[in-house]
């Protein structure tokens, strides 16, 4: 299967650089935590043990406990799950929606295209946090809200890139060749346009993951994100920050988790982009 071989080859190239390998390792770790959270966690992240609040790291609680006695390590692991859920679902939605709108914009007549672009601009001009504030004020905080808000703010990003990709592609001989063979427009778009613009969009998506993680953490920090007691790294940081005087461990643990995850995805995304770009250059060279 060519796809699999390509993925493996790309990953191998990513590991070629130190930063890429480190990034890939961190990404793998975070994803493992996200997927296998119930098994990797030692305790139920919501289990209260008030008598043991702010206990230091020990055999029973590897990273200690927070202000309600909940195991910090388990909450951190589940935080990965939350971060990944939000990041991957919002990006997936934004990519699909953005790509669809971008393709339409490239093929629609000038007026309609301008309308789509204006919609993009309006959304893009809204800072995501302000939008989140507004939406949360109306609907209350929840994971779903965060996902939708973040997805909406990312749509213009993918939409514009998709559109410019399609525009460059429009003059490509193979699209004309397909037209000459008699291919209908839907066929051309599905089989010939989309596969060729997906690559750059996926790279973009991978580089957006750390951004979304941070946005989600930020929203949760402000209490506008996931609903407590769900363990988001952002809310962990908020809790730790509030009780900093009692113990510095929660804040440090959750900040480090957030920082390392963001760094890891950034390094991975960049290495991925580097791994793919020169290959594209060489493939066509």
């Amino acid at each position: 299967m060519r796809g699999l071989a390509l993925v493996v080859a790309t990953l191998r190239q990513v590991c070629g650089s130190l930063t890429g390998a480190v990034g890939l390792a961190i990404v793998a770790m975070v994803l493992a935590c996200a997927v296998f959270a119930p098994w990797l966690a030692t305790h139920d992240p919501d289990a209260l043990d008030v008598l043991n609040r702010f206990s230091a790291p020990s055999g029973a609680h590897w990273l200690g406990t927070d202000q309600l006695g909940r195991d910090l390590y388990s909450r951190m692991v589940h935080g990965a799950a939350v971060a990944m859920q939000v990041a991957l679902s919002s990006i997936a939605i934004a990519l699909t929606l953005g790509m669809t709108l971008g393709i339409l914009a490239a093929y629609l007549p000038a007026r309609s295209e301008r309308f789509v672009l204006i919609v993009f601009d309006v959304i893009a001009s809204f800072p995501s946090l302000v939008l989140a504030l507004a939406v949360v004020a109306v609907f209350g905080p929840s994971t779903l809200i965060v996902v939708i808000v973040v997805a909406v703010t990312l749509v213009p990003h993918f939409g514009r890139v998709a559109r410019s990709q399609v525009l460059t592609l429009k003059s490509a001989p193979f699209l004309e060749a397909e037209r000459i063979l008699g291919a209908s427009w839907p066929r051309v778009v599905f089989y010939h346009v989309m596969p060729n613009i997906l690559g750059p969009l996926v790279i973009l998506a991978s580089m957006d993951i750390p951004v979304v993680i941070t946005i989600e953490a930020g929203l949760s920090f402000l209490g506008l994100g996931v609903r407590p007691p769900l363990a988001s790294w952002g809310s962990l940081i908020q809790d730790g920050y509030q009780y900093l005087s009692e113990s510095w461990v929660p804040v440090v643990v959750s900040s480090v988790a957030l920082g390392v995850a963001t760094l890891g995805f950034t390094l991975f995304g960049e290495a991925l982009r580097d791994a793919v770009d020169p290959r594209i250059g060489r493939e066509h060279g």
């Binding site: 490509a172 001989p173 193979f174 060749a177 037209r179 000459i180 063979l181 008699g182």
Partner: protein, 337 residues
């Protein structure tokens, strides 16, 4: 600007009405294409192509030869004029039964490798026409297999991607893809462009063989005059959106009537010093299509232009059986052999 009188002399309607030859497969009359209101890519062009004929189209940048091809295959809409293939207008055929038209008229684009979808294997690309036209699977795949063997494409090429195959192979893949639909007419845009001299002979032999075997009709565009001379039966020379000369190929090359044809043909560098002609070097640049010169469009660069040439645009006129020239003073640039 007075429009030129369109005359299609070679295998023309006149001959058809006289019952001498059957109606041409392709009949283009008075084709004009204007882009954005300003760029007159084609100006009142008429051309006929008989069934099973090989016609060559020669011209430089701005001549309109590519646009003419695109009009013929229905990619570009002509602003005025009619295009008929097989007796019916192209626009009507595309409206009524686009797939049938596409099966009848195919085009090979200049960049053979770029004509193939980059993320599809060659095999998949070859099966595209079968899928698009819903052709009977078994029969078509068998035919495809025969064609591939006929074209000398090894079976391992099917699993490769376009960027992994050579220009020559890509060209043959394009031909195979067109042939699977059993077309009547193939428009070939620079079929030997990018091919090394050592392999172009093979491709041309192939195109000629296929023409015999499948009874194909070709419109061949090439800037390689040797290819035109060797492969085509009749040639039209274009300049700035008009046909300036049309003649049987041998006659055109032996004695071009239009000064531009003479100059163009003389630019072909010849290896054997004994066969070298005097090179006619034209002055000036090719004028812009947006603002073509008045009168005869070639007069600004014509070495033998006269006062009449700058004021009066010459019509395309028959000067012999099957020959037409758009010039007030044809043969004034007669080359010494």
């Amino acid at each position: 600007m007075t429009p030129a009188q369109p005359v299609s002399v070679p295998s023309g309607i006149g001959a058809a009405r006289a019952g001498l030859v059957s109606a041409p497969l392709v009949s283009m009359r008075g084709i004009s294409v204007v882009f954005g209101g300003a760029v007159r890519a084609l100006d009142d062009v008429s051309l006929d192509i008989a069934d099973k004929e090989i016609v060559g189209l020669v011209g430089e940048s701005g001549s309109g030869k590519t646009t003419l091809c695109r009009v013929l295959v229905g990619l570009t809409q002509a602003s005025t004029g009619t295009v008929e293939v097989g007796g019916a207008a192209v626009a009507a055929q595309l409206a009524r039964d686009p797939l049938a038209f596409r099966r009848k008229v195919q085009m090979l684009l200049q960049d053979a490798v770029a004509s193939l979808s980059p993320r599809m294997t060659v095999g998949r690309s070859l099966r595209e026409p079968i899928a698009i036209h819903n052709l009977p699977q078994q029969e078509s795949l068998a035919r495809l297999d025969t064609i591939l063997r006929r074209l000398g494409l090894p079976p391992d090429v099917l699993a490769k991607f376009p960027h992994q195959i050579s220009g020559g192979q890509a060209r043959r893949v394009g031909v195979a893809r067109a042939l699977v639909m059993q077309p009547q007419l193939i428009v070939a845009d620079e079929p030997t462009a990018g091919l090394d001299v050592s392999v172009q002979g093979e491709l041309l032999n192939l195109l000629l063989d296929l023409q015999q075997e499948f009874g194909l009709t070709y419109l061949l565009v090439s800037h390689n005059l040797n290819v035109i001379r060797r492969v085509t039966q009749r040639t039209a020379v274009m300049y700035l959106g008009q046909i300036v000369e049309e003649a049987p190929t041998r006659q055109l090359f032996d004695r071009p009537a239009h000064p531009y044809s003479a100059a163009l043909l003389s630019t072909n560098p010849v290896i054997d010093p004994q066969h070298r002609r005097t090179r006619i070097v034209l002055q000036g640049e090719i004028p812009s299509v947006v603002n073509p010169p008045s009168g005869c469009r070639f007069h600004t660069r014509c070495p033998v232009a006269q006062p009449r040439c700058s004021s009066e645009p010459p019509p395309l006129v028959a000067i012999a059986m099957k020959r037409a020239v758009r010039c007030h003073f044809p043969y004034s640039l007669d080359l010494q052999r």
